[in-house]
């Protein structure tokens, strides 16, 4: 879905604006989810919403910056590896009365999808500003995934006494 909409755009600014729009949707989704989960685990959903908000700010700032392409290139130069740690546990649908682990499993699946879409777009775009911006976005989502996996490890794999 993202892919289709994004591939029609003609300027990098437009791409970034649309991505920000996607993030706004995602942010809205998590904000709505907050009261639906137990208060004990709301911090996770709050964090997820906040992350999206930060992403929106980052992209807006990027779109406005004069040396945007330098930033992009700079970011792509240091690609984030896909860790695959959570691939076996991602769930595309949010379970009913989700617990902390469930929320993370779902969030991981979403971010995984985004990575794949951006990566695919980048792969199908010739070198140039568009390729760079898609690679950049894929990389950003990978970083996010990596953060989520670290949290997942901390919460689920606490080791025990």
């Amino acid at each position: 879905m993202k892919r289709e909409a994004l591939s029609k755009l003609t300027t990098v600014e437009e791409v970034l604006e649309l991505v920000a729009e996607f993030d706004r949707e995602a942010h809205g989704f998590y904000v709505e989810l907050i009261p639906q989960v137990s208060k004990s685990i709301r911090y996770i959903v709050e964090d997820l919403a906040l992350t999206r908000l930060e992403h929106i700010r980052k992209i807006s700032a990027l779109a406005k910056s004069d040396d945007m392409r330098d930033h992009l290139k700079d970011a792509i130069m240091r690609p984030e590896a896909d860790r695959k740690f959570s691939d076996a546990v991602q769930t595309p649908e949010l379970m009913e009365n989700p617990d902390d682990q469930g929320v993370l499993q779902f969030a991981l699946a979403r971010v995984q999808l985004a990575i794949e879409e951006y990566a695919d777009l980048a792969a199908n775009t010739p070198p140039g500003p568009f390729h760079e911006v898609f690679s950049y976005l894929a990389n950003e989502e990978s970083k996010h995934k990596s953060d989520l996996e670290a949290l997942y490890y901390e919460i689920v794999h606490s080791g025990g006494v």
Binding site: Y153, E154, I155, V156, S158, G160
Partner: protein, 604 residues
């Protein structure tokens, strides 16, 4: 006498007239010998401020001066030396626990200000700070022992077929030898969550005064028998003795004290509450270390304490989580007996939410303490993790303790690398040994042995007992039978090799090698990756009313929750650790006590 030779011979002295003078023209700046004992040097990063140098100085030339904030294992103090007193004997260098203190071979220094000769080596910069030459002791320190006496343990063959306690405990001779090594710096006290008076009770062992030792233990910890066996002994990680040699076996010494005092004597030493009953009532939910410690303190303050425990016996995770071979139940019972002797009532088999609600407690008691522990096992939730034949470690351990029948197949895989994983692996191995005469347990852990979560001795002992531990393997799927009689049942565990798990900063950044895939054929998979608290007993309303802190009930420094009537502590609040739970119990009791006194005052 009087020969001519005797008159002439002395004149040979004149030949020295033409010799070059041997006097050094300028003695300031003459370089001393390589191992000369001159002004001190201190590697302040290595120094831990233990003060052994000050203790040994027979001239009282050394003061410990704060130069930084203290942190775990470092008092932040550094030795200042008064060279008006120093006799350059270098005992401070010899006794130094870390080897940070040395002496340069610089000894010539002129200054008209006498106070200049009182400075903190390494902190007050001096020209000789980087001198290579000078006195440093040869080899390890010789002025206090380096190694622990070896603890007698059951041999693997003798222990694998039963749940007998493995560790024998120190004999008097061993304990005295070990207690002797302590330099009484007290750096460990800050790190111990309960701030036990470790140097003092070790001193009591040296003196052979076990009554005093017991008294000291009970001032900070009513679970010395338990902690003497299974404490996470964070104290030992900051022990000054560890820098050259082994840290003091603080945990075993604690146990040694309790081992040497009979149950009756212990009750006599501890005694019963010495205050008038306050008439106030406190409910404690959960008879684990946090709850029972709070109950002990509160009862000794004169309050009527009732502890509600869902299981059939008190002890919480100490009983139902820790296998008997590490902590025999009668040891735990002895600790609890002392607590009960304070008049604490423990209602076992009473589950909150089912048998009685928190609302009732709120209404019936002046204060409620929530210390529920972490009794739910986490699941990996990899595909197949809900299949029959997949068990939660914590659940299995509880069932083993309760004497329930648990399935014992020939081949078992355990997922997890913490102490719980070791506990269930070793418990299952024992059951297998009893049933089949052989052990068939494979543990797969995400972490490699360099970053292993379980204690080293757990890993060593597991290996000794014939358990296979595969480090750095990530679970991908629990494979099940696709057809046949056992369709849907566990068939094996599929794992990938983890090539790295943490980056240099210690951040979790796993890397898999998908090419290195293994399928461990087993009939049972036990997930032992982590636990969580069963907070369902709070109910929606209370859950909503309470403040939370990243998944755990938020409490202030005193263990008080956002609800005025409710305190919380122990594993469910601060993560799994017996001694931390004990510390929580003390804090909560103190806070409850203050609140109840205020309440009584208000009601007057």
């Amino acid at each position: 006498m009087g020969s001519l030779r005797d008159v002439l011979s002395p004149f040979t002295a004149w030949k020295h007239v033409i010799e070059t003078p041997v006097t050094i023209k300028n003695p300031i700046g003459r370089e001393a010998a390589d191992r000369y004992r001159g002004f001190h040097q201190n590697d302040t990063d290595k120094c831990i401020g233990c003060g052994s140098c000050e203790d040994i100085c027979q001239n009282a030339a050394i003061d410990m001066i704060p130069v930084d904030n203290p942190k775990d294992g470092d008092s932040g103090l550094r030795p200042q030396i008064d060279y008006g007193r120093c006799c350059w004997c270098a005992l401070c260098v010899d006794v130094c626990m870390t080897g940070s203190l040395t002496m340069s071979n610089e000894y010539t220094w002129v200054d008209s200000d006498p106070d200049a000769f009182r400075f903190i080596p390494g902190v007050d910069k001096m020209p000789w700070d980087d001198f290579e030459k000078g006195y440093e002791r040869q080899g390890d320190r010789m002025l206090s022992g380096l190694t622990r006496p070896e603890m007698a343990e059951l041999e693997p063959e003798a222990r694998i077929g039963n749940f007998d306690e493995i560790v024998a405990g120190y004999s008097r001779e061993q304990a005295v030898l070990e207690a002797d090594r302590c330099v009484e710096c007290g750096l460990c006290v800050a790190t111990c969550p309960a701030h036990m008076d470790i140097p003092d009770y070790i001193a009591a062992i040296r003196e052979g005064d076990y009554d005093l030792g017991t008294q000291i233990l009970y001032e900070t910890n009513p679970f010395s028998e338990v902690c003497g066996r299974v404490c996470t002994h964070k104290c030992e990680t900051v022990c000054a003795a560890q820098y050259e040699g082994e840290p003091i076996a603080i945990r075993w010494l604690k146990r040694h004290i309790i081992d040497n005092v009979s149950e009756e004597r212990r009750l006599e030493i501890v005694g019963t509450p010495q205050v008038l009953p306050t008439g106030q009532k406190v409910a404690v939910v959960g008879a684990g270390p946090a709850g029972l410690t709070a109950a002990y303190d509160l009862a000794r303050s004169g309050h009527a304490v009732t502890v509600f425990e869902a299981q059939d016996k008190p002890g919480g995770m100490m009983r139902y989580g820790i296998p008997e071979y590490r902590l025999p139940y009668d040891a735990l019972d002895r600790d609890i007996a002392v607590i009960k002797a304070q008049g604490v009532e423990i209602k076992t088999g009473t589950r909150i939410g089912t048998d009685i609600t928190l609302d009732q407690l709120k209404a019936d008691y002046d204060a409620t303490v929530l210390s529920i522990g972490l009794h739910l096992g986490r699941s990996t939730r990899v595909p197949g993790s809900d299949a029959p034949g997949v068990e939660a470690a914590i659940d299995l351990l509880r069932r083993i303790t309760a004497g329930e029948e648990v399935p014992v197949p020939k081949k078992v895989a355990v997922i997890g690398g913490g102490n719980v994983a070791m506990d269930i692996a070793r418990s299952m191995a024992r059951l297998q040994k009893q049933k089949f005469g052989e052990v068939g347990v494979t543990v797969t852990a995400l972490e490699d042995f360099d970053h292993f979560l379980a204690d080293k001795e757990e890993v060593t002992e597991s290996f000794e007992e014939g358990i296979e531990i595969l480090d750095a393997r990530g679970p991908q799927e629990i494979v099940t039978f696709k057809s046949g009689k056992r369709k849907g049942h566990v068939k094996g565990l599929r794992t990938w090799k983890v090539t790295s798990i943490f980056d240099e900063q210690g951040r979790f950044t796993p890397q898999y090698d998908e090419g290195d895939e293994m399928v461990h054929e087993v009939e049972m998979v036990v997930e032992a990756i982590g636990q969580m608290a069963d907070i369902s007993l709070l109910g929606d309303e209370l859950t909503e009313a309470l403040e939370w802190n990243r998944g755990r009930i938020a409490v202030d420094a005193d263990g008080h929750t956002s609800e005025p009537w409710l305190w919380g502590g122990g594993d469910a609040v601060h993560g799994p650790d017996v001694i931390h739970a004990v510390a929580d119990g003390h804090k909560i009791a103190a806070s409850v006590n203050v609140a109840l006194m205020a309440k009584a005052e208000a009601e007057k």
